[in-house]
C-alpha cells in the first residue's frame, strides 16, 4: 500500500508552528516528499509514549491514518490506551521530528545544526570518545538513558567501551520506592489494586499519571467492587476528586501520617501478629520507634486530623488483608523519601497483605511459576550474554558514599554527572552519551546542567526531537520512533507469566535508526564490534526463545501472550485452582496455601522492617524514623509538581496532537493566597526562588492548599528547536534546587518559591 506522506501529515495534524521549522536541518519537513508504505492490518506492539509501555494495536486505516488502540489480548489493559498512546502517530509523522544525523555548527545550545551522514556521525563520535578514553580513561565518559527497552544496548556499549558510569532516570523518578522495596522486601513488589477493598493513597495520582492496568484496576475496585479510596495530597488532583475522602496534607509530611497509621495499627492491636511473627524481622525495634508517632503528633505535623487518621486506620485494618497503602511512584516529596516509602510499605506489612488479594505481591515469572507448577507451563526467555567483556576497574562516580549502594545497580544517581563534571567529584568527567533522556527538565537546577554541558569536551544525544538537553549536544543521532522499531521480547509477568514484544508498524521514515542498531554500529566504529555479535534484532529475539520460531511468531501475532492462572501464594482459592490445573504442582501447606514458600531476598530472608544492612550503609537509618525537614523559607510557598494525563513528563510537549490539547501549565494558587498577592485568575506571574525564576500564568483555584502552589511539570522548554513547547509555561526544573536525598539518591521535587504579579 502506498501512502502519500503529505496527506498523512495533514491528517495527523502537524500544522502548529510548522512553518517556522520547515527548514530546520534534519527535520522531517526538510526531507521533502518520500513514499511510505504502511501495514494494512493491525500490528500488535508496545507503546512508548510513556514508560508504562502498554500493549497496543496499531494499524493503517483507509490507507491514510494510523490509529492506535490498546491490544485487547492483554486483559488488564482492556484494549485501552491513554491520550498519549493514541497520539503516537502524531509523533511519528510530525514534521518537526529529526530524521537525519546532525552536527553542531554553532555554539552549544545555539541551535545551529548541519545535516551529516551516519558514517560521518559515527566517525566523529568514535574519534572524540577514543581520544577522551586515551587521555582520561574510559570512565570519564558517562552514558545515560531513560530506562527502557533499549537502554540495555547503550549500557552494553558503555561496558564494551570500558565505562562503569551508566545512568537511568531512576534518581529523578522511581528510585525512592525501588530502593525502599529492596531494603524491606529484597526486591520490587506489585500492587493488586483491582481486588483491594480499601486503598490509602499518598498522592499517587493514577488518574492523571496513568498506568493503564493499575488505573483501570483502581477504578474497577472503586466503582464495581465498592472499594474505599482515601487520598492524602496537597492538591485537589483527579485522584483526590475520585476519592471517598481527601485530605489536603501539608507537603512533605506524608511520612508522619504513614507512621501514625503504623502506630495505630500496633498500639490499637490491629496488626496481623501471626504474619509478623512468621515473616518479619526487626519488628520490635520498629514498634518501639513508632510508639512516639501518635495520630495527634501526626496532626500537628501534617494538618490531617488525628481522629481521621485513627478512624481510617481502623477501617483499613477491618478490610485487611484485602487492603493496601499505595507506596506511590515518582516523587521525592522530601529528602526523607527513603523513610516515607519504607513507612508506606510497613503499613502494608503490618496487616499481612503480602501475596493476598488486594494487597502486595511479587511478580511470577516463568521460571518461578514453572517450579510451582511442576511442569513447563510457560517458556522462559534466554538472556544473551557476551563473553570476554573488558573488565572495568574504575569506580562509578556515584560511589562516593555507601549509603547509596542500593541504587548503584538500579540506575545510579543521575545527578552525580554534574558533580563529577563541575567539581571533579570523585573524578573528572569529559564526555556524555545520552539517549532518550532530558535532564534539563527532569533533573533539578537547570542552570547547573547548562554549566555542565558547556564544560564537557564532547556530548552525543540520541533522541526523536532535539530536546532541551539534546540542544546542547555536539552530535545528534535521530532514533526511529517505536512505531518503526523491532525490539526484544519483554517479560511482563504479573500474577502469572506473560510476554509481549515491540515490532515495527510502518517503514522507517527518513534516515533514522533504532538505537540498538545505532549503538552496535557505533561499537563497530569504536573498535568494539566484537562485543555485539548479533546481526540484527531477529537474531536476538530468536536467541531469547531458544530458536523456537513458532513461539516467536505467536508472540508477534498476538502481541501479548500469558500463561497459566493468576497465583498469589497466600490466597487459598487461587492456590487451589492452581493445584487443580497442574497435577504435579508443589504440595500445599496445611492451610491450603503456599504461605511457607514465601521468601524474601533480604539478608535475613524475611521482611526487614528494621535493617542491619541499611544501618551499616547509612548509620542511624536501620530503623524507620521521622526527621524534620525544611523545604522552604518561612516567607515562601511550597512548590509542588505533578503529572497531567495528556503529557509524559517533559517528553511529549512537542507532539502535535498533545501540544494541541495542552501546551501551557498555569500555576495553581489558592484564592486566599492569590488575594493577598493581588493576583487574579489568568494573570501573568513570576515564580522565583534562589535557584531560578520563571514567568507564567496564575490559575486561581480552591483545589490547592493556601500555603502551596502547583504546576504540571514538563512545560516551559527553553530551546528553540521544540517550536510547540518553547517558552510556554513554567519550567519546573529551573526552580528546583540541586539536593540529593539520603539512601535513595533521589533529587528533590519540593521547594519554596515566591510569587509576584507581573
Amino acid at each position: 500500500m502506498k501512502l502519500d506522506r503529505r496527506t498523512f501529515i495533514k491528517g495527523a495534524g502537524a500544522g502548529t508552528a510548522g512553518c517556522v521549522f520547515a527548514t530546520l536541518p534534519g527535520s522531517l519537513a526538510a526531507l521533502g516528499q518520500t513514499g511510505l508504505s504502511g501495514s494494512a492490518e493491525s500490528v500488535a506492539s508496545i507503546c512508548e509514549m510513556c514508560s508504562t509501555r502498554c500493549p497496543i494495536s496499531a494499524r493503517v486505516v483507509n490507507g491514510k491514518n494510523v490509529s492506535i488502540l490498546g491490544n485487547k489480548k492483554a486483559k488488564s489493559f482492556g484494549g485501552a490506551v491513554c491520550a498519549r498512546g493514541g497520539a503516537g502517530h502524531s509523533q511519528l509523522y510530525d514534521k518537526q521530528r529529526i530524521v537525519k544525523p546532525l552536527k553542531r555548527v554553532g555554539e552549544r545550545g545555539e541551535g545551529k545544526w548541519a545535516e551529516i551522514e551516519w558514517d560521518e556521525a559515527y566517525a566523529i563520535i568514535a574519534e572524540n570518545l577514543n581520544k577522551i578514553k586515551a587521555q582520561h580513561g574510559a570512565e570519564s565518559v558517562a552514558f545515560s538513558s531513560k530506562s527502557g527497552s533499549l537502554s540495555g544496548h547503550l549500557f552494553h556499549l558503555a561496558k564494551a567501551f570500558g565505562s562503569p558510569n551508566t545512568f537511568t532516570h531512576a534518581s529523578t523518578c522511581p528510585a525512592g520506592y525501588v530502593v525502599a522495596a529492596k531494603a524491606i522486601f529484597g526486591g520490587k513488589v506489585k500492587r493488586d489494586l483491582s481486588n483491594s477493598k480499601y486503598i490509602i493513597n499518598f498522592g499517587h495520582n493514577l488518574y492523571e499519571g496513568i498506568n493503564m492496568s493499575e488505573t483501570r484496576g483502581m477504578m474497577n475496585a472503586q466503582m464495581e467492587k465498592g472499594a474505599k479510596l482515601v487520598v492524602f495530597e496537597p492538591r485537589f488532583s483527579i485522584v483526590a476528586d475520585k476519592a471517598d475522602e481527601w485530605y489536603a496534607i501539608k507537603p512533605g509530611t506524608d511520612v508522619a501520617v504513614a507512621l501514625a497509621i503504623c502506630h495505630t495499627l500496633i498500639e490499637d492491636d490491629l496488626y496481623d501478629k501471626a504474619f509478623v511473627a512468621q515473616y518479619v524481622a526487626g519488628f520490635d525495634a520498629f514498634a518501639q520507634e513508632v510508639k512516639a508517632y501518635t495520630p495527634e503528633w501526626a496532626e500537628s505535623v501534617s494538618d490531617v486530623p488525628a481522629e481521621d487518621i485513627r478512624r481510617i486506620t481502623h477501617e483499613y485494618a477491618a478490610a485487611a488483608p484485602h487492603a493496601v497503602v499505595d507506596f506511590g511512584h515518582r516523587s521525592s516529596f522530601t529528602t526523607e523519601e527513603f523513610e516515607m516509602r519504607r513507612a508506606l510499605y510497613a503499613a502494608n506489612v503490618l496487616i499481612g497483605n503480602i501475596e493476598r488479594k488486594g494487597g502486595l505481591y511479587f511478580g511470577k515469572k516463568a521460571s518461578k511459576y514453572n517450579k510451582f507448577a511442576g511442569e513447563k507451563v510457560a517458556p522462559t526467555l534466554a538472556k544473551p550474554g557476551v563473553e570476554g567483556m573488558p573488565s572495568i576497574d574504575a569506580k562509578r562516580i556515584d560511589m562516593v558514599d555507601d549509603q547509596y549502594a542500593l541504587l548503584w545497580s538500579s540506575g545510579g544517581i543521575y545527578q552525580t554527572i554534574l558533580d563529577a563534571t563541575l567539581e571533579a567529584k570523585p573524578y573528572q568527567l569529559h564526555g556524555w552519551v545520552m539517549s532518550r533522556t532530558n535532564p534539563m527538565q527532569t533533573m533539578t537546577d537547570r542552570a547547573r546542567i547548562v554549566e555542565t554541558m558547556q564544560k564537557l569536551d564532547f556530548i552525543v544525544a540520541c533522541d526523536i526531537y532535539i530536546s532541551e538537553s539534546a540542544a546542547y549536544a555536539d552530535i545528534f543521532l535521530p532514533e526511529s520512533t517505536y512505531l518503526e522499531r523491532d525490539e526484544e521480547i519483554v517479560d511482563k509477568s504479573g500474577k502469572n507469566p506473560a510476554y509481549y514484544v515491540r515490532q515495527r508498524v510502518v517503514d522507517t521514515i527518513g534516515d533514522t535508526k533504532p538505537s540498538w542498531m545505532i549503538w552496535k554500529e557505533l561499537a563497530n566504529q569504536l573498535g568494539q564490534g566484537l562485543y555485539f555479535p548479533w546481526d540484527n534484532m531477529e537474531t536476538l529475539q530468536l536467541f531469547q526463545v531458544d530458536k523456537d520460531a513458532a513461539l516467536l511468531n505467536t508472540i508477534k501475532r498476538d502481541g501479548w501472550v500469558s500463561y497459566g492462572k493468576p497465583l498469589m501464594l497466600r490466597e487459598r482459592e487461587m492456590v487451589k485452582t492452581f493445584t487443580d490445573t497442574y497435577p504435579n504442582a508443589k504440595a500445599v501447606d496445611d492451610d491450603g496455601t503456599y504461605a511457607s514458600q514465601l521468601s524474601f531476598k533480604t539478608p535475613s530472608g524475611k521482611i526487614e522492617l528494621s535493617s542491619d544492612k541499611v544501618e551499616q550503609m547509612a548509620p542511624g537509618r536501620g530503623v524507620i524514623r521521622y526527621r524534620e525537614v525544611t523545604m522552604k523559607k518561612a516567607d515562601e510557598l511550597f512548590f509542588i509538581q505533578g503529572k497531567v494525563a495528556v503529557h509524559t513528563n517533559a517528553g511529549t510537549q512537542n507532539v502535535p496532537m498533545l501540544a494541541n490539547l495542552m501546551s501551557d501549565n498555569a500555576v495553581w494558587i489558592h484564592p486566599i493566597t492569590a488575594g493577598l498577592l493581588n493576583i487574579a485568575n489568568g494573570d501573568a506571574i513570576r515564580i522565583y526562588n534562589a535557584t531560578g525564576s520563571e514567568e507564567g500564568h496564575a490559575l486561581v483555584t480552591p483545589g490547592i492548599r493556601p500555603d502551596t502552589v502547583f504546576a504540571y511539570m514538563g512545560c516551559g522548554s527553553k530551546n528553540k528547536e521544540l517550536a510547540r513547547a518553547t517558552g510556554k509555561g513554567v519550567h519546573c526544573g529551573n526552580l528546583l534546587p540541586h539536593i540529593t536525598s539520603p539512601v535513595t539518591g533521589m533529587n528533590l521535587h519540593t521547594t519554596g518559591v515566591k510569587i509576584a504579579k507581573l
Binding site: G13, V61, L69, G78, V81, I238, G703
Partner: protein, 190 residues
C-alpha cells in the same frame, strides 16, 4: 425493531484523560483545528476542602428532536434510521443555521470539507465495521457505554435501568441520546 443508539457517560468513572478526544481525532481524521469531542474538567466546585470536579463530555448529543435537523433548509442534516444525527454533505450549502441552532454548540465547520461536522458515533468508520465508537473502545476507565437502547438485553439498557442519569438541557425538548451518570459528589446520591 429499529435501533436506537445511545451513549452513557459515567462521570464517576471518567477521569478526563482525553484518550477519547485523541482516539476520535485519529479514527475519524478530524482536522487539527477542530474537534468532535472534548471532556472538560470543570471546577473544582464547592468550598475547600469539600470540592468536586465536573467531567463534562462535549460532543453531539444525538437529539431525538434535533434542532439542527429542524432548521436545516435543505435536509442535509437528517436523522438516520439508526437514530444517528447525520449530514448529507452533497445537499449542504453551508448556511451555518444548524451550527447556530445547536443548543450544545457541538457542530462546527470542517475546514477541509467546508460542511458541518460532529460526532456521528463513528458510524462511517468503526460502527460500519461492527466495532464500538472509538471513544468507547479506548476509554481507560470504561466510563462510556454504547449500544442499542431498544435492545432490552443490551448493557446500555441495563445501565440506564439501574443507575441515576440525566441529559443536558432537557428543558429545550431536544431529548438527547447521550445520557450522563452524575458524579456522586455532584449532589445526587446514587
Amino acid at each position: 425493531m429499529t435501533k436506537r443508539y445511545v451513549l452513557v457517560h459515567d462521570e464517576n468513572k471518567c477521569i478526563g484523560c482525553q484518550a477519547c478526544n485523541v482516539a476520535c481525532r485519529s479514527e475519524n481524521n478530524v482536522p487539527e483545528s477542530v474537534t468532535r469531542l472534548q471532556v472538560r474538567i470543570e471546577g473544582p466546585y464547592g468550598n475547600f476542602p469539600h470540592l468536586h470536579f465536573k467531567y463534562n463530555r462535549v460532543s453531539c448529543e444525538q437529539c431525538e428532536n434535533a434542532p439542527c435537523v429542524k432548521v436545516c433548509p435543505t435536509g442535509a442534516a437528517y436523522v438516520n434510521a439508526d437514530g444517528i444525527v447525520s449530514i448529507n454533505e452533497n445537499k449542504c450549502v453551508g448556511c451555518l443555521y444548524c451550527v447556530a441552532a445547536c443548543p450544545y454548540k457541538v457542530r462546527f465547520i470542517n475546514p477541509e470539507t467546508r460542511v458541518p461536522d460532529k460526532c456521528d458515533f463513528c458510524k462511517e468508520t468503526r460502527l460500519a465495521r461492527g466495532e464500538d465508537p472509538a471513544c468507547v473502545s479506548v476509554c481507560p476507565t470504561q466510563a462510556l457505554v454504547f449500544g442499542d437502547a431498544n435492545d432490552l438485553n443490551s448493557e446500555v439498557r441495563k445501565v440506564l435501568d439501574t443507575k441515576p442519569h440525566y441529559q443536558q438541557k432537557v428543558n429545550l425538548g431536544t431529548e438527547p441520546r447521550v445520557y450522563r451518570i452524575p458524579s456522586r459528589k455532584g449532589g445526587i446520591k446514587a
